[in-house]
């Protein structure tokens, strides 16, 4: 899936995560993670981000994660929202979210 334009989801509130994605046509994935729990959960966050991108078939994107200690479900939801906004479609409750 191709990102059409930059998109943001989430906030910088405690226990939330702000996901910003940009198209990165033909350049692959560029994922940057800032997190208050990076030492303990940095790898887990990266894995989740990659998983959601793969579920949507997004292969080219620059992703900035600014995490304030969000649980995995929250990171997943914010990623899904950001991608849907970036590709201008609504979330398929029977597709990627299942």
């Amino acid at each position: 899936m191709q990102l059409k334009h930059p998109a943001v989801a989430g906030t910088l509130e405690s226990s939330d995560v702000q996901v910003t994605i940009h198209p990165n046509n033909g350049m692959g994935l560029d994922i940057r993670i800032e997190s208050i729990v990076k030492a303990q959960f940095g790898d887990a966050i990266l894995e989740t981000v990659r998983e959601v991108l793969a579920a949507f078939g997004v292969t080219d994107a620059s992703v900035q994660i600014n995490d304030k200690g969000a649980l995995d479900w929250v990171i997943r939801a914010r990623m899904q929202a950001a991608i849907c906004r970036g590709v201008e479609r609504s979330f398929d409750w029977e597709g990627e979210g299942v």
Binding site: Q40, F41, D43, A44, A70, L71
Partner: protein
């Protein structure tokens, strides 16, 4: 490496510090019996005044030299302007290599304590806690010598055992007279009780009182007596009133914290020890304050009055005192302006020496008389050990305070915490730093249930009392599993071998050490 009674591996020596491993809850007999004090007989001709022009002059007169030990109290909290002024004066005089031994390090800025470590004015620190910029710098290896952290009860013990000999004590006072009688209770920058500086006044080689409010002789009330004071310095300002009154205390609106607070009150009310003339200490954290209010409701419903409440006094404890629900408040510190004033206004709200509050080697202490003690914690492990110092990402978060003392002294010690904070689980297999041994923690109260500690002295009684209620009792392991199911399994924080903090238990043994975080 020796292993102590809570399973922590400790070096035998850390520099010049010889490690005495923690042996369990039965504290050892003191090795020497005579109280050590640096106080000296001092003949003073009649008349005159002890007021001396500037801090620099007082420091010179005190004979402070390189390598000596200086002390402060922390009763002005974040509003403290004394520590910064004194350290700046010491730096101006070129005195270096000092041991800085306040009752707790307040997080002062401009100047920051870190500046005085970097320029060599301070080379050793011994306190109840270090936080903020200094805490972060220390845990990342700022100092060559490890910081020694002691509970409120452990500090007077160390002083009187001769392990922490104070050369010069600087005691900030919101009012004082020219002969050194001093108090925290009156004046524009009143902070209330000065309970942490009594031991400094009676044990230091020289005592300098610093005030911005010189009153006519004699200063009444006087918490610090003239007989211990060598010099009085009048400075422009000793503190920032709004920050002095805004200490650890805040009222929470967080529904989860309120739920935990309410549960603690339910637990106390369900105990057979909740009867007329009971005693309690709820503390000054946000959960604690809410808990005090719920407890007052239960007391009113059942017509039960408490004999006394202990520890740091807050406005809401004063409020329930005024309702007649508590007969006596015994406080070593006052957390806000209302609590500070209350000591002057009510004969049954009493300022106490921190040593009588918490030192077990002072022929018994007041917190041994507590029925209920509420403890807040950053982490608890499946053995009920509490961490109140370090965040699980390896950052210094707080101070030991009196928590470990309260846990050991009270009949029922109740640890209150949510099972997760953000993505960080707070019920874990092993806490990052053990501060309070699990054996002294009767139960853990969380939003997901209450876990009773089978190894606690009153386990059977608690199990029977709680069994008669519909309170949700769960195992500590199930809380740990639930927390991990929310957060995932955290990767362990890696440390180097360098010990940056030594955590002393109230009996002077080492319960844990904090090693430098690998970044």
């Amino acid at each position: 490496m020796p292993v102590n009674a809570v399973g922590r591996e400790l070096p035998e020596r850390i520099g010049n510090y010889i490690v005495k491993p923690y042996q369990g809850i039965n504290a050892p007999e003191p090795t020497s019996k005579k109280v050590v004090s640096n106080r000296v007989l001092t003949l003073r001709p009649a008349g005159g005044s002890k007021v001396i022009g500037t801090l620099e002059e007082a420091i010179e007169a005190s004979g402070l030299q390189d390598g000596m030990t200086i002390s402060f109290h922390h009763s002005f909290r974040e509003g403290d302007l004394i520590v910064g002024q004194v350290l700046t004066a010491i730096r101006n005089l070129g005195i270096k290599d000092l041991r800085f031994a306040p009752s707790a390090v307040v997080n002062i800025k401009n100047p920051s304590i870190v500046d005085f470590v970097r320029d060599g004015t301070i080379t050793r620190i011994e306190a109840s806690g270090i936080r903020g910029e200094l805490g972060d710098a220390v845990i990342n290896g700022l100092m060559d010598e490890p910081v020694i952290l002691r509970t409120h009860g452990a500090r007077p013990r160390a002083i009187e055992a001769g392990e922490l000999e104070i050369d010069v004590a600087f005691i900030g006072a919101s009012a004082a007279d020219e002969y050194g009688n001093a108090t925290g209770q009156i004046g524009p920058n009143a902070c209330g009780a000065l309970g942490y500086s009594f031991i400094d006044a009676t044990s230091a080689g020289k005592v300098v009182v610093i005030t911005d409010y010189l009153v006519n002789y004699p200063c009444v009330p006087a918490s610090i007596s003239q007989q211990y004071v060598d010099y009085v310095v009048v400075v422009e300002q000793i503190g920032i009133p709004e920050k002095i009154g805004a200490g650890a205390t805040r009222m929470t609106r967080n529904p989860r914290d309120l739920m935990i607070a309410k549960r603690i009150a339910d637990v106390i009310a369900a105990s057979r020890l909740f009867e007329n003339d009971f005693s309690f200490q709820t503390g000054a954290g946000s959960i604690s304050i809410a808990c005090t209010n719920y407890l007052a409701e239960r007391m009113e419903e059942r017509g039960i009055k408490a004999r006394f409440a202990l520890g740091g006094i807050t406005a809401n404890i004063v409020e329930i005192f005024n309702k007649g629900l508590v007969k006596v408040l015994e406080g070593s510190q006052s957390f806000d302006a209302v609590a500070a004033r209350a000591i002057v206004e009510h004969p049954n709200i009493v300022e106490i020496d921190n040593a009588v509050y918490s030192n077990i080697y002072g022929k018994g202490c007041m917190l041994d008389k507590l029925n209920f003690g509420v403890l807040t914690a950053l982490e608890v492990d499946v053995d009920f050990n509490l961490n109140i110092l370090t965040g699980s990402s390896g950052e210094m978060m707080g101070g030991l305070g009196g928590g470990p003392d309260v846990a050991a002294g009270s009949d029922i010690s109740i640890a209150a915490l949510p099972i997760v904070r953000g993505r960080t689980p707070s019920v874990v297999n092993k806490v990052f730093t053990i501060c309070t041994p699990g054996e002294t923690v009767a139960m853990v109260v969380t939003e997901a249930g209450i876990a009773l500690n089978p190894r606690h002295k009153h386990y059977e009684m608690l199990r029977d009392d709680m069994g008669k209620t519909d309170l949700k009792i769960v195992s500590i392991e199930s809380l740990r599993q639930l927390a991990e199911s929310f957060t995932g399994k955290p990767k362990q924080i890696e440390c180097t071998d360098k010990v940056v903090c030594i955590v002393e238990y109230r009996d002077g043994t080492v319960i844990d050490v904090i090693r430098q975080i690998k970044r």
